[in-house]
């Protein structure tokens, strides 16, 4: 019997009991990410004032990795600053981006469980769906904050 690294407890717990999943009403901005290869889709909403992300919430449909990743992201970012979120996003893109995933960089403990997925190139996109949605949301947030 093979060990199901990928489905280890942390990931499965996030999948079965996703944190911050639900309604995006009242979010300051919302971003979308979709994986055309499987039709999965995640929306991420930022509840913020100024540069602070008070709460990061998501909704959508996806496989266990996709949902767990979104749940973990929402936990890791709630209460952080916009800049911290952007920095983490860069790290994640390096970690899971196409072809550049070779170098492992330090990540917040809250996301460590995702490292198992790095062994499965075909599923990197599942992890990154929520982060793509986040990038879109952060970009939108920048637009709202920019002085006219």
């Amino acid at each position: 019997m093979t060990t199901h690294q990928l489905y280890k407890d942390v990931l499965l717990d996030h999948y079965r009991h996703p944190r911050n999943k639900g309604n995006l009403d009242g979010a300051r901005v919302v971003g979308r990410g979709s994986n055309p290869r499987c039709g999965d889709e995640i929306e991420v909403g930022l509840f913020s004032h100024g540069n602070m992300l008070d709460r990061v919430q998501f909704r959508g449909r996806g496989c266990s990795i996709c949902i767990a990743a979104a749940s973990m992201m929402s936990e890791a970012l709630s209460g952080r600053s916009k800049t911290e979120a952007a920095q983490l996003s860069v790290v994640m893109h390096r970690w899971f981006g196409n072809g550049n995933g070779a170098k492992v960089e330090p990540t917040p403990p809250a996301l460590e469980a995702l490292s198992a997925v790095r062994e499965y190139p075909a599923r990197r996109k599942c992890v990154m769906l929520c982060w793509e949605a986040l990038s879109e949301a952060l970009f939108a947030l920048d637009q709202t904050l920019r002085p006219l």
Binding site: T2, Y7, Y15, P36, C38, D40, C63, S64
Partner: protein, 413 residues
């Protein structure tokens, strides 16, 4: 649903598996059920490729020395073999391409493009693979023609009788797959060709999922074009073929221009050489053609009727087993006949997760839209899980999948 569920035993020991080194020697524990994506290769195909490079390798159609003559003869013999394999009238009617995909694009760009006018129609079906959908979508949009779609009935079969205007004047081409790579159903190609023939409308049949799994005879089908790939019938990667009736090929322009296709070239003009060479610009894929023919010969030795019967039996048993699981939805329903391909969805388990868990348990199945987004959109699904059978599969492979399903249910469901 206990892990005790096993399929009825139509095939407990597979006598062909030993011919496939990857499955027999390298990965004896692997249950490979992704044959609609690509198939493994028998030793005889691998040997033929090795021999091509180490015994009779040389340039084609040009050299005047014995090795070049031998290489040319081997290449043309491969063409004869494949033409015969699909029942073509003459080997002139068989063009080597890089893939089924290129073969379809060649017809779209070389045959349809010059003759399609604004207001004309090309009909495709709801179940086409992107390779047999996008080239037609592009050519129609470029030429102001209409891309029309034959929809499906509840049971997954073509609803072609209610496809309004299918055989009417503005239809310039009908395009359909012989066997669906998602639903596994076989379309009534012969009947459609007969009707189209009467109406004077050419038909292109995408045979990628049929050839190699059942006897195919293009003259019996009476289609105008027929396309297939080597790697899906136990042959090499990087080679496919287009069959075309000689009258159609005479109407067709080449997709690629280059060495080997012309008679005369001057600074402003060129004149095309003969058929089929005019469609094979560039140095031919000698080893690919030889390996492709070796795959055909391998199948001919077993007999395609035998191949078909064996796989169908296993497929029916697998369908029976899956349809006993209340949490499994079969696409289409269980009463539709399939040959080698079964798509399904398990309640509460995303196909990606299922395929991943099965993969780690040594069972290779596919999850996703299978390059059939127009179908998925209509079914309202992201994707399905799919098992697809080959010559070397047996009951143990399907049992292993049933076990993996249980594991996934325990882990995620």
């Amino acid at each position: 649903m206990g892990s005790a569920l096993k399929i009825k035993r139509p095939l407990t020991h597979n006598i062909y598996k030993k011919d496939f080194p990857l499955l027999h020697d390298t990965h004896p524990q692997l249950h490979y059920l992704d044959n609609a994506a690509t198939t493994h290769k028998p030793q005889s195909v691998i040997d033929a490729i090795v021999d091509a490079y180490s015994q009779t390798y040389g340039p084609i159609h040009r050299g005047l020395y014995p090795l070049a003559e031998a290489a040319t003869a081997a290449y043309e013999e491969a063409r004869e073999t494949l033409a015969h394999f699909i029942g073509a009238a003459s080997s002139k009617e068989l063009i080597f391409t890089r893939s089924a995909t290129e073969a379809i694009n060649l017809v779209a760009q070389g045959w349809a493009r010059p003759r399609l006018r604004e207001g004309d129609c090309i009909w495709v079906t709801r179940m086409e693979h992107h390779s047999n959908f996008l080239p037609w979508q592009r050519i129609c949009s470029q030429k102001g023609a209409d891309l029309k779609i034959v929809e499906l009935k509840e049971d997954g079969m073509l609803d072609w009788e209610s496809a309004e205007g299918l055989f009417d004047r503005p239809t310039r081409l009908i395009v359909l797959t012989q066997v669906s790579n998602v639903l596994g159903v076989e379309n009534p190609v012969r009947a459609i060709c007969a009707k189209a023939q009467q109406a004077g409308i050419p038909v292109l049949v995408d045979g990628a999922q049929a050839v190699g799994h059942q006897p195919v005879n293009v003259r019996e089908l009476d289609c105008d074009f027929f396309t297939f790939s080597g790697h899906k019938m136990y042959g090499p990667t990087g080679i496919g073929a287009l069959y075309g009736k000689i009258e159609r090929l005479e109407e067709m322009e080449p997709l690629l221009l280059g060495g080997g296709i012309v008679d005369q070239v001057d600074d402003r003009h060129f004149t095309l050489g003969s058929i089929p060479e005019r469609f094979e610009a560039g140095s031919p894929n000698l080893a690919g053609a030889i390996g492709f023919a070796a795959a055909a010969n391998y199948l001919l030795e077993i007999g395609l009727a035998q191949v078909h019967t064996q796989v169908s039996q296993l497929s029916r048993a697998a369908l029976d087993a899956l349809s006993q699981c209340p949490d499994i939805r079969l696409l289409p329903g269980r009463n539709t006949q399939r040959h080698t391909i079964i798509s399904f969805i398990v309640d509460g388990i995303h196909p990606h997760d299922l395929a991943q868990i099965a993969g780690e348990a040594g069972v290779a199945i596919r999850a996703g839209h299978h390059c059939c987004q127009p179908l998925m959109n209509t079914l309202g699904l992201n994707g399905t899980a799919r098992l697809s059978l080959g010559l070397y599969n047996d009951a143990a492979d399907v049992d292993a999948l049933l076990l993996a399903l249980d594991q996934a249910r325990r882990l995620i469901g």
